[in-house]
Amino acid sequence: MGMFDAINISASALHAQRVRMDVIAQNIANANTTRTEDGTPYRRKIVVFEERKRSFGDILNEKLNASSDTYAGVRVKAIIEDTSPFKKVYDPTHPDSDQNGYVNYPNVDIVTEMVNMIEASRAYEANVTAMNITKSMITRIFEIGK
């Protein structure tokens, strides 16, 4: 078990949560984008996490040290698009309206995004706390025998 493994685990989670925040910010920023590069309205993006598998280095280490219990935290597996239907709003004056006068707005729900944002920020805090606790444990080690 490496000295900074636990910190790396928490750091991976901080990174993952920050990516999630980025995507949420992107969703909110594009809540009213009716025309993207493909010509379609903006589609809401969702971050999917997965448990991070060990790298080659970790596995080599494990063989050298005969211990096979390393954890590597979490990572962003994919950023997928929400396939739920677009919101249809009647607005004939809008340049992107169809022949019936309806505009396809992105499938972003601001309230959902805000809730997800709070969740991401709380998860971030939890991981910062975990990291601080690891830090206090490491400083405690240096005090052994004092």
Partner: protein, 137 residues
């Protein structure tokens, strides 16, 4: 004769356990939003048992490949088996994740206090021996 390092070794094991457990709990917290992740914990009894097993791991020396080897756990560390998946399927979320963040934070705090306590004991033990070595001066 008593071994002066017996107690220190024992504290070392306890610290090792707390250290590893911190890692396992941190991993749970990191994966609090990972679909399908199952919360894990470290079993103290199994961990210590694994340590004892590793210690008594006496291997039979064979001089010929036809000699019968003693039953051995193949390569993998027995410490692995101390990590257990918590049976908390009753509070599983829709995405199959079983991490209860409050519980994990509580465990994390408990574990760090336990770690502090053991390391304090270890310091005292070392200081005791220091006193003995310096003849009480």
């Amino acid at each position: 004769m008593i071994n002066m390092f017996d107690k220190i070794d024992f504290y070392k094991k306890a610290l090792d356990y707390a250290w590893k457990r911190n890692e396992v709990i941190s991993n749970n917290i990191a994966n609090a939003d990972t679909p399908g992740y199952k919360a894990k914990d470290l079993n103290f009894k199994a961990f210590l048992q694994a340590y004892l097993n590793d210690q008594n791991n006496l291997e039979l020396i064979t001089t010929d490949k036809r000699h019968i080897k003693a039953e051995q756990s193949s390569g993998t560390s027995t410490k692995d088996r101390a990590i257990e998946i918590l049976d908390s399927s009753f509070q599983m979320r829709l995405d199959g994740n079983t991490v209860d963040i409050e519980q994990e934070m509580g465990k994390l705090l408990q574990n760090s206090l336990y770690f502090d306590g053991v390391s304090l004991q270890l310091s005292r033990e070392i200081n005791k021996w220091k006193t003995v070595i310096k003849e009480g001066r």
